[in-house]
Structure formats: structure tokens, C-alpha cells
């Protein structure tokens, strides 16, 4: 389990160790469809995706959110994560490289527990944000 950073020393603006994932490919979309139970054709079949008004298959938004989960769970134990989520801001396509960024946005005490608020973003190499999210983490 990663050891927790200390609430006293952590500062607003601190960055989590970054995570850049290998380029998403169609094999990964197939694997994620099987693993996640999300078999929507828009992730697997170009013709069906186009019938749905898309440029071709798109990656599951939840795949990139899982990357954000990996970013946070590489930094603190899973037991410390109080919430995690975000808004899907742009579509992700096969070939895209997603970089995950976390920045400490606030420190607070909630129900007697020290917590930090982390701004999370998933972004493509072009700098386009694909997820704008947030996590709250309990820090002793």
C-alpha cells in the first residue's frame, strides 16, 4: 500500500506523480468492453458508431476514468479515497494517448477527518481535456 503523504506537509498546488498511459487501441477497447460489461457498439464497431452520428468507434469514458483511479490509487491507499469522479468533456478515440494529472486544490476537515481535494484531469496529447474531475482523499 502506498504510504500516505502527511496532511501537514501537503500544500495546495502540489501535483500527484503523473501518469501517462500507453495509446488506447482497439484491442484495449475490446478488453475493456469484456472487463467492464459495457458492450455498446459505439466502442467496438465503426459502422454502428457512424450510424450513431460518431466519427467511428470512441473509447469508453469509463476507461479514462479508470486511468484517473489508477493515478490516485498509485499515490494513496484505496481505503483513503472518499470520492472520485468527473465530467466527460471530450471524446477519446483509438490512438489517443491519455495523460492523467492531479493537483491538490484544497485542504479541509470533514466529520473530524483531514481531507484533501484533488483536481483531476485526463487530457490527450493535444492538451484537450477529456475528463474534468475531482477526488477527495482522507489524509492523517
Amino acid at each position: 500500500m502506498p504510504s500516505l503523504p502527511s496532511f501537514a506537509t501537503i500544500a495546495i498546488g502540489d501535483k500527484l506523480p503523473g501518469l501517462t498511459k500507453p495509446a488506447i487501441d482497439r484491442v484495449q477497447l475490446a478488453l475493456y468492453a469484456g472487463a467492464s460489461g459495457d458492450h455498446n457498439d459505439i466502442h467496438l464497431d465503426d459502422e454502428r458508431a457512424k450510424a450513431g452520428g460518431l466519427p467511428g468507434v470512441i473509447a469508453h469514458g469509463m476507461l479514462s476514468m479508470a486511468f484517473l483511479g489508477e493515478l490516485v490509487a498509485s499515490w494513496v491507499p484505496i481505503t483513503a479515497i472518499r470520492s472520485l469522479g468527473g465530467r466527460f468533456a471530450a471524446i477519446t478515440r483509438p490512438g489517443d494517448v491519455i495523460a492523467c494529472v492531479g493537483v491538490v486544490a484544497a485542504k479541509s476537515t470533514f466529520e473530524g477527518e483531514n481531507r484533501i481535494e484533488v483536481d483531476l484531469t485526463a487530457e490527450s496529447v493535444t492538451g484537450e481535456k477529456t475528463i474534468v474531475g475531482k477526488a477527495f482523499i482522507a489524509i492523517p
Binding site: Y32, G52, H60, L63, A66
Partner: protein, 146 residues
């Protein structure tokens, strides 16, 4: 215009068994090399009581039990026209391999924007484990492109 009478509807509870192999499959699919998802001894040495699930794994229960697409079918929405708009997890405790989770989905809101060009469906699935402890709440916003 979607049928707003679905707002407040609660779907029947479902049971989701957290298999160790499914956690491994999920970790492999997201290409997360963390050994805690693969080896019980490593997970225990790291302080977990069993292999933990990755943070967003709970949504597998939603998809496996047709909680999202089922609602879309009930609302007569074409699956090809939807995008995942937002997803938020609130955690009470981790999910572990071997857990027997009970889930329940409620429709929280249905509204439209841009003169009906986009519909939004907000639902929440809550998971509890085999001892009745709450595990997590997952709030989903689905966007329908009309």
C-alpha cells in the same frame, strides 16, 4: 422528450459477486500493473483484507446487471445515441474480491437542454456488501444526443 414519470423510480435490487478473476481482467484491460489486483499475498501485505477492486470497478456491477442500458431501453432511448456525461463515486469502504454486493438503482432526474437537442438522465446505484455495510454510491449522468 423523455418520460419524466420515471424520476424517483427505484429498480429491483440485484446481487453482484466480486470474482477475483474479474478484478484481474479489469486491471489488465486498463493496463494497470499494480500487483495488489493480482496476488492475494501482496494485497494482504499492503494492508488490505483481500484483493481490492480498482476505484471505478463498482461500475461493472451497474453494467453487468443492465442498470444503465435497461433504464435507457425503458425510456425508449437508442443506445447508439448516448454518451456518458458524468460519473461520480462516493466510497464508504473498498470492494474486495469475494464480496457479495447488493445494488439498487434509483432514477434521480431527467431533463433536457438546448431546446430538447440533448436529454440528460441522472441515476444513482448504491452498493452494499454481504455484511450490510454500504460500499459506494455511483451517480451517473447519461446524455442523449437527439
Amino acid at each position: 422528450m423523455l418520460d419524466k414519470s420515471f424520476i424517483g423510480k427505484t429498480y429491483p435490487r440485484f446481487v453482484f459477486e466480486v470474482e477475483k478473476g474479474r478484478i484481474l481482467q479489469f486491471a489488465d484491460a486498463i493496463r494497470d500493473p499494480n500487483p495488489i489486483y493480482r496476488d492475494t499475498a501482496v494485497a494482504r501485505a499492503a494492508g488490505y483484507r483481500a484483493i481490492p477492486a480498482p476505484p471505478t470497478f463498482g461500475y461493472v456491477a451497474v453494467m453487468d446487471h443492465d442498470q444503465s442500458f435497461g433504464l435507457l431501453r425503458d425510456l425508449k432511448v437508442a443506445i447508439l445515441r448516448v454518451l456518458h456525461g458524468e460519473q461520480w463515486f462516493t466510497y464508504q469502504r473498498p470492494i474486495y474480491a469475494g464480496d457479495l454486493l447488493t445494488g439498487e438503482t434509483k432514477v434521480l432526474d431527467i431533463y433536457d437542454k438546448k431546446g430538447g437537442a440533448l436529454d440528460f438522465i441522472v441515476s444513482e446505484t448504491s452498493l452494499s456488501n454481504q455484511t450490510g455495510e454500504r460500499v459506494c454510491d455511483m451517480r451517473t449522468v447519461i446524455v442523449v444526443r437527439n
